[in-house]
Every structure is written in C-alpha cells, then in structure tokens.
C-alpha cells in the first residue's frame, strides 16, 4: 500500500515538473523524467538515481523546474523508507543543492516520509540560500510605479536587489532593499524621484542576501529584459517673456513739469509787478514779496515735478495681468500634461532564468 502511494506521488511530481512545458512537445528532459518516474515506481532506486542525476546537471531554459524535480527524485531515491536502500550522506548533499535551488522547497506528500522531511529540514537549517522568484512578464504603470518580485531565503536576511546591465554601458543600479523576514517582496522601478534608473535592455537581476547573524552572504540571479520607452515631457515655461509686458506707468515728464513750475513763477512775478503798479501808487513801490513767492512757487513746482513717477496706465496693467494669467494657465496645462504622461507611462520587464 505504501509503495502504491509512493508511485502515485511520484507520478504527480513528474506531472508537476512537466506543467511549465505542458503545451509544448515532449523534450529529452521530459523523457528523462518519465524514465526516472518508471525507475522509482519499480523501486529501481539506483536507476532512478542515475537518471535523476542527468536531470540535475541539465542546463537550458526552464531547467530550474527540472532540476528541482530531479533533485527531489534523487533525494527520494537515495533516502527511501526502505532502510537497505538509504544513503543519508548522499541524500543530504542533494537536499542541500535542492535547498540552494529553492529555499522554501518541501518534499511532495506521498514521496516523503518523516525521515526524509527531517533530512530536508536539517539541510535547510545548515544552508543559507536565497531565491529570486519571478516569471513571465510584468508591466510597470506610471513613472512612480514598479513591479514586485518575491525573494525567499532559508532564514531571515537583509535583501538587496540590483540590476547589472548586460548589453548596455552603465553601472550597477540599486533597485530596492528590505530586511527582517524569510520571504519578502522587492520593487523594480524604472524611475526613482523622476531620475531614470533603467534604460531599455537586458539586465542581470541579482538579489543579495546577508545573514546578519552569521555574516554569510548568498545571492540569486535572473535575467530581465526591460522595455522602458523614453518618458515624454512637455517643457514647462519658467518665466514670462518680459518683452511682451507693456509699461504700466508712463514715463515721467519732468522737463515739461519743471517748465510749468518755472512758468508759474514767472506769472507770479508778473502779478506782483504788473498788476500792482498803477501810476498813482508807483511812489509806494511794488510788493517785493511777489519775487520771493515766485521763487518759492517755482522751486516747489520743480521739486514736485521731480517727484513725478509717471501716470499709471490701467489698460496696460490689465493687459499685463492677462499675460500673467495666460502664463500661469500655460504652466498649469504643461504640468497637467506632464502629470498625465507620467501616469500613463508603461514599461515591461520580462524575466528569464539565469541558471545557478
């Protein structure tokens, strides 16, 4: 009965490993999985071991899933319930590899048994590993937007996510960091505070995990292809073109006003000397104060003329106010358009396995 359950579980395991490529035709890897399954079902542990090893050493796209399944079969083959077939040291070695490949992995129900689970937990406890978990394609919406990728480690750690340009010139870009838990999500933004972080191109996404207790460091890689078009911006006018403004005061007419003041003095002299001088009274002399007053009035008028700052021109002031209003409106429109362009900005990130 137990063996029957083992067989059903292994069949399920193989089926799960095939799922990512289910829509495609059978590959040599699928054939290897099928043969490993048969061997395990027939309790041919050594044969299953041999086939699973070739799965584990395989490289190429989608091999992480094959390798994970291969390592699970390998561990199950090396540490079965049957005591005579158990090879705990070898099983522990492959379980360590399994944990490195997938830190939160567990053995499928049915395949595992308490001894194998204990061995896996022991391997997990002894191994510091991290995995960057992302697949397919994500879309970043808006300049302030980002996509999040899951990182998982075998123990709480400090995580840093960086992008290293592959085809592009440039330096390593720090994308995000977080700490404190076994499993976290880190962000991949294209912009940070309006400064572009990622251009279109291929990047090596590297998550670096530091264990603050043991000072150990480990990392995981993925390849990310970023398609990030240029952000269109409408230029925002900075200052109003002052040459468009009209003068709001007329030029002071100081010469004219000064001449009026002098004329006022002259008329005052005339008033004193001409009006007050009839023949019968000529012996009494004129009123000399007229000259003083003429001087005072002329001086006062000239000083007043110097205070002239020009007349206000309300039509021009209204025109200028209209220009300022229009300028403010154009600034608002440009800002609004830029906000819209920022909000509708789209970038995509496509993930590929980088192998380990």
């Amino acid at each position: 009965m137990r063996k029957l359950m083992n067989r059903v579980a292994i069949a399920t395991l193989v089926l799960a490993a095939l799922l990512p490529v289910a829509s495609s035709a059978q590959t040599p890897m699928d054939e290897l999985l099928r043969r490993a399954r048969e061997a395990l079902n027939n309790l041919e542990y050594e044969r299953a071991d041999s086939i699973a090893r070739s799965l584990v050493t395989a490289t190429g796209p989608g091999t992480r899933a094959y390798r994970t399944t291969g390592l699970q079969i390998l561990a199950a083959a090396l540490y079965p319930d049957e005591q005579w077939a158990q090879k705990p040291d070898s099983a522990r070695k492959y379980l360590t590899q399994l944990v490195r490949l997938s830190p939160d992995v567990s053995m499928p129900d049915g395949v595992t048994w308490p001894g194998l689970d204990s061995l896996l937990e022991d391997a997990r406890r002894r191994t510091f590993a991290v995995r960057l978990d992302a697949a397919g394609q994500d879309t970043i919406l808006g300049v302030d937007g980002s996509v999040r990728v899951r990182v998982v480690a075998t123990r709480p750690a400090r995580f840093r996510l960086v992008a290293e340009p592959i085809d592009l010139a440039g330096t390593v870009v720090h994308l995000d960091s977080a700490s404190g838990r076994v499993e976290m999500e880190l962000a991949i933004p294209v912009f940070r505070e309006d400064v572009r972080l990622l251009e279109s191109g291929r990047y090596r996404l590297r998550v670096i995990a530091d264990d603050p207790v043991s000072d150990l460091r480990t990392e995981d890689l993925m390849i990310a292809t970023v398609v990030a078009p240029q952000l269109r911006r409408v230029s925002i006018p900075v200052v109003l073109d002052s040459t468009q403004l009209l003068p709001e005061r007329s030029a002071p007419r100081r010469w004219r006003n000064g001449a009026i003041g002098m004329g006022l003095g002259f008329v005052t002299v005339l008033a004193g000397s001409v009006v007050g001088s009839s023949n019968e009274l000529s012996g009494l002399g004129g009123d000399g104060r007229a000259y003083w007053m003429a001087g005072a009035l002329a001086t006062g008028a000239v000083l007043g003329a110097l205070l002239d700052s020009g007349a206000s021109l309300p039509e021009n002031a209204e025109y200028n106010r209209g220009l300022h209003r229009g300028f403010a409106e154009s600034v608002r429109d440009a800002q609004e358009e830029n906000r819209r362009l920022r909000d509708t900005y789209r970038a995509t990130v496509r993930y590929e396995e980088a192998g380990k």
């Binding site: 008033a271 009006v275 012996g283 007053m293 008028a301 020009g310």
Partner: protein, 213 residues
C-alpha cells in the same frame, strides 16, 4: 450779510454736486483762505500803504469741462505809511469756469466793499478771465493760475480792476487733504466824486482744506 449769502451759496453748490461727487466725476474742495495782504491806495491826493490779513474761505467744484467756485475774503488793514490804505476790505465772488482744466474761461459775479475814511462803499462786478490748472505729473502737485478783469456793474463806488492769482496746490492721493500756497494781486480803480481812487491789494495766500473724493 455777504458772508451769509456766500455760505448759503456754498451749501447749495455742495448739495447740487453731491451725486456727481459720489460718482467721482466732480472734484469738490473746501478751503480756509488766508491772504497776507499789503494794500496800497491813493485818496484825495495822498497815497499810503497798509498791511492786513484777509481771511475767508472757498468752495471749488470742478468737473471735466466746467467748474464753479465760491470765494469770500475780508479783513482790516492797518497803516504802514499814510492813512489812505487804512480800513477794511471784503470781497465775495462766484465764478463759472468753462472749458478743460488746462485752459478755460471764467465768467462770474462779485461784490466788493471797503470801509475807510469815506465810510463804506459797495459795488458789484462782472468778472471775465481765464484760468489754467496743470498737474505736475503724478506728484500730487498742481500749478494753477488765473487772471480776471473785473468790470463794475454799478454801486456806491463803481470801480473796475484786474485780479491775478497763482497757486501751487498739493493734494496727496491717500488723504482727503488739499493745500495750496500762492500769490494774489488785485488792482482796482474806483471812481468817486473826489476823483479816481487806485487801490492795489497784493500778498501771499495760503489755502488749507478738505477735498472729495
């Protein structure tokens, strides 16, 4: 009597102008007036001069193309030399200005009286002349000048004359205040049974008051 008439006239002008003042189409000002006068007069073969301070008031209403002014002054003269100029003088006038402020005609009516050695003489005058008000930019200062010919309309001692007055007025834009200093000269020649009696009254003037708006 004359003072009361002019006060009543002033009140009438103020009331008539009130709606236009409210609409800011008329400038209205009320001044106290002082003229530090010197009076020179000849009488009965003798001539003399005297000093006196004429005091009074004026009410001015000016629209764009017309204006009305009421003025009244009076005062005593004490002898500086001789006795011909001793006495009191009182003048009252109402003028209608027509034309723009820069240059307009003046048509008016005046009453003049003096009291001296020969008693009190009063007569009426027709006043005709020209006036100008020229603002000195936006400084609040304004140059004003007017010259009138006063023609006798008859009375106890009819006499014609000439009046010239200049002013430098200041009206700050932020205060309802109006100040003016100037010079006023008038020359009259009165006909009397004893012959022609020439008379000059000249002197600096000062006007301080309020204005609307």
């Amino acid at each position: 009597m004359m003072g009361r008439a002019f006060m009543l006239g002033s009140a009438a002008v103020v009331l008539a102008c009130t709606p236009a003042v409210a609409q800011r189409s008329i400038d209205l000002s009320l001044h106290g007036l002082g003229v530090f006068s010197r009076r020179s007069a000849a009488f009965d073969g003798g001539a003399g001069s005297g000093s006196g301070r004429l005091a009074g008031g004026e009410l001015l209403a000016r629209a764009r193309l017309w204006g009305v002014s009421l003025r009244w002054v009076g005062g005593e003269f004490e002898a500086d030399s001789g006795n011909a100029a001793v006495g009191s003088v009182a003048e009252g006038e109402i003028d209608l200005a027509l034309g723009p402020r820069a240059f307009g005609g003046i048509f008016g009516y005046g009453r003049r009286s003096y009291t001296g050695a020969v008693g009190t003489r009063r007569w009426s005058l027709l006043r005709v002349g020209a006036a100008t008000q020229l603002p000195l930019g936006t400084s609040g200062f304004r140059a004003e000048a007017r010259a009138l010919r006063a023609l006798t309309l008859g009375g106890e001692a009819g006499g014609s004359g000439t009046i010239v007055e200049t002013r430098l007025a200041y009206a700050p834009s932020h205060l309802p205040l109006s100040i003016a200093v100037g010079y006023r000269a008038s020359s009259f020649s009165s006909e009397a049974t004893t012959g022609t009696r020439p008379e000059d009254v000249t002197g600096p003037l000062i006007a301080i008051g309020v204005r609307w708006p």
